[in-house]
């Protein structure tokens, strides 16, 4: 008998191939330590790209730092930046523009999205094809959508003005969606509704499909009318999903930047200057870095608060 018999399994051969020093070192580690070694790179990356900038922004928000004057002395101003933002009528106006945008997009997307979901749920001939067609706007990049709708809103050559004039009889060049103070806030609402209604429709469709058929069968046995079934079964049971869609779209639209920036850049004047556009102007046009950091923290806390409500709603939907 000699000791040079070939190892029986692949694992044993792999163990023998490992250099003895490494093997000994790894053998000395606990499972917990090995787990930490595996997740450490992710934690370091998260700290570097998420937590560190956040902490730095919080620190900058209490200073008068300006990024275009890196050698100027940085002074601690306490909560002055926060006080200035929260008493500034111009920033309050930007918040109201954001509120107009968020409110009307949510109302329109919820009503149209739920109606589309209810129709698609009827399972008519070709409903799969129409679902795909309806989902196309959601798949496009906001940059593409912004540029695309800029052309559609052109008063001379844009399709939107001709579409409106076909139904109303108004001359196509008699109104300007992007250039008009009254119409520009509605122009961004229309584009966001066009793009994101399919998303709301998908969530509502998931809600409608989760309602068991036997509830409708029991309602029919009790001779409930279709309208009664809708108000007493469909709407209450789909409500948690609708709330989820409303919260998600609310959070997304509260921090909307790309599409509005490409479409109107906050104009004409400041009528479509939503909060994120104001933030960009303060940070990279006026170079008030400390001030804009404080503004960013205010927006972050608001979105974080809304996200907490969103997670709570999501847990409620999961429990169903």
């Amino acid at each position: 008998m000699n000791g040079t018999l070939p190892p029986k399994s692949l694992a044993e051969r792999a163990a023998l191939a490992t250099p003895p020093t490494v093997a000994m070192r790894v053998r000395g580690l606990s499972d917990r330590a090995v787990a930490w070694i595996f997740i450490a790179p992710t934690i370091v990356l998260l700290l570097a790209i998420n937590i560190f900038p956040l902490i730095w922004t919080i620190q900058l928000s209490f200073t008068n730092y300006r990024a275009n004057r890196p050698n100027a002395p940085v002074r601690n101003v306490g909560i002055d930046n926060y006080h200035s933002i929260l008493t500034d009528p111009d920033i309050w106006a930007a918040m109201q523009a954001t509120a107009h945008f968020v409110f009307w997009t949510i109302v329109l997307q919820t009503v149209i999205g739920f109606t589309l979901a209810w129709l698609i749920d009827r399972k008519f001939r070709g409903h799969g094809f129409w679902t795909t067609i309806i989902l196309i706007p959601m798949m496009l990049s906001p940059a593409v959508v912004g540029n695309f709708w800029r052309f559609l809103y052109q008063p001379q050559i844009g399709g939107f003005n001709y579409f409106v004039s076909f139904f109303t009889g108004l001359p196509p060049s008699s109104f300007e969606m992007i250039g008009s103070v009254k119409l520009a806030p509605w122009a961004i609402v229309v584009v966001d509704t066009w793009m994101w209604t399919p998303y709301v429709m998908l969530i509502c469709l998931a809600g409608l499909r989760s309602i068991p058929d036997y509830i409708y069968e029991a309602a029919e046995v009790d001779r409930a009318s279709p309208l009664r079934q809708f108000w007493s079964i469909t709407l209450p049971m789909a409500l948690p999903f609708i709330m989820l869609a409303v919260l998600f779209r609310g959070i997304e639209n509260f921090k909307m930047f790309d599409m509005v920036n490409l479409l109107t850049s906050g104009g004409p004047g400041s009528t479509t200057e939503v909060a994120s556009i104001t933030l960009k102007r303060e940070a990279f046009e006026k170079w008030r870095t400390g001030f804009s950091s404080a503004f960013a923290i205010i927006l972050f806390v608001t979105v974080f608060g809304l996200a907490n409500i969103y997670v709570k709603a999501l847990n409620r939907v999961k429990q169903r």
């Binding site: 929260l86 918040m95 954001t98 205010i298 806390v301 608001t302 974080f304 608060g305 907490n308």
Partner: protein, 71 residues
């Protein structure tokens, strides 16, 4: 050993008083956050707008704390 209805400490509270239950406190925190967001976005009063951030921050801190409470 007592088997019966939950006592003052609650069935899952492990010694904590019933006052510190997650459900109602989370509802309060959500209401405070929602009030803060509405104050931030409303067009009626600059004073309400001024106190919106403090309200939202209070709601967020409250939510973070009470989410550690037992069910």
């Amino acid at each position: 050993m007592s088997i019966g209805p939950a006592n003052e400490t609650g069935s899952s509270g492990r010694g904590r008083p019933r006052f510190f239950r997650r459900g109602p406190w989370e509802a309060v925190a959500v209401a405070v956050i929602a009030a803060g967001v509405l104050m931030l976005l409303q067009p009626f009063s600059l004073a309400l707008y001024s106190y919106s951030f403090v309200t939202t921050l209070a709601g967020v801190v409250l939510f973070t704390v009470v989410s550690k409470f037992p069910e």
